[in-house]
């Protein structure tokens, strides 16, 4: 029988653009369940995409220890493979210290889904470290639920190519899969949202349905599913405000 190891807990955090007070619909206390909050408050060791936003999150959920007394390791946007064993070492324990649990946090949403963390989880599996996922917000799931598209077959593509010829080519391939009945989901860096939206209207078939899901748990959330033809016909002043706001794009035939 091996000695017990620490558990790597995967804890989602709010996805809203701006963080308001505890009664705000997008705040941590409104969008995280009791089980998830309890595990984040119990833990003293955190592996986080961004240390500053992680401290703000731990304050928002009223972690019972002084934030400065917690061990917070910043793994960054692209975790360095050479550091992973050092980050996971406390979960294995040592002659000097019993194994401790760790909580993995990304900047917004679920760790490892359109966010860093998967490489640490993969290494944890190799080391037989128990991995425990907790319930919380995912912009992709909220958008897919609300799009009214096919939730029996869907594909998340991450970011489409940036340069225009490859973006157009990629949108044509995505449209073909959407026409075959598989929901196509993708995202863009917020400051390039408008360019992506305009390219979709230009390139994609008028009969396809496009869902725009913008800043879903934020105060100014917007969600609509319309055909490409209907989006094209919208007067400029009725176009959704996409500029610099987190958005998910979904296409289906």
């Amino acid at each position: 029988m091996n000695p017990p190891l620490g558990t790597l807990h995967l804890v989602p955090v709010p996805i809203a653009n701006e963080q308001g007070g505890p009664q705000d619909p997008g705040s941590a206390l409104q969008v995280l369940p009791a089980g998830t909050l309890a595990i984040a408050r119990q833990c003293g060791y955190f592996l986080v995409e961004n240390a500053k936003s992680a401290r703000a999150f731990l304050k928002a959920i009223a972690h019972p220890q002084a934030i400065s007394s917690l061990r917070i390791e910043q793994i960054g946007h692209e975790p360095d493979p050479a550091e992973i064993d050092r980050w996971l070492a406390p979960l294995l324990g040592s002659a000097a210290a019993a194994p401790s649990d760790a909580v993995l946090l990304s900047e917004a949403g679920c760790p490892g889904i359109a966010d860093p963390g998967a490489s640490l989880v993969a290494r944890a599996h190799q080391c037989a470290i128990p991995v425990m996922p907790w319930v919380g917000p995912s912009a992709i799931v909220l958008a897919l639920m609300a799009a009214g598209m096919n939730g029996q077959r869907f594909r998340f593509l991450g970011y489409l190519p940036q340069d225009r010829p490859h973006l157009r080519e990629s949108l044509l391939a995505v449209s073909a899969d959407a026409r075959r009945g598989e929901t196509q989901i993708f995202i863009e860096t917020p400051y390039r949202n408008v360019r992506l939206y305009e390219t979709i209207l230009e390139v994609c078939d008028g009969a396809l349905r496009l869902c725009l899901a913008i800043d879903l748990s934020g105060a100014g959330h917007f969600l609509a599913t319309r055909s490409i033809l209907q989006w094209r016909a919208l007067p400029a002043e009725q176009r959704p405000a996409l500029e610099r706001r987190p958005a998910v794009f979904l296409l289906l035939g």
Copy 2:
């Protein structure tokens, strides 16, 4: 200016196999956030996959009204398209009644994701009924977070074909996409899980990684990612208990 309509709220419910007391890790009060619980408790009109499990859920979250006084419409596993406008009519209001909100509930997890509901949501968009998704458990998302696979590109395939020749053919195609770096996610009816697991070990390349995520927010949850070769080498008594338990299968190269 159009008169305001009711909102169609999309509320996830717990995914655990058995429902325990309120302190049970998989119970509604542990896995649903305050915002989601509040909306479900405020509403008096429910569109549900299964009336019996919906009543048990409303009791578990301590809905303030007598359950018998709530309007609960069972939409079933495959909602009848001819009924959708009748179900949505209360959200539009009438000369006799102001528009009311509705809450859509599936039997487990998120409405419209590997579960019925999408056809009602699609019709709501056509009628300009506001649609609001709420945070809660999704077995697919919990499994993907915890698999340590690629969360930047993934595909959910629903159920693979049942008959053996088509299942083998489908697993070969799925393996090819998995080798190209896209996480492949699929599910099976619980009583056929063992057959699917055995066929995967038989058909798929030994170097592929398979994650089994079983009954994730239940008491006996199990999760492991190993190569097909490692799964094949497992002594029979160490094989995970898949029989009649909800499971998600994930493959990656």
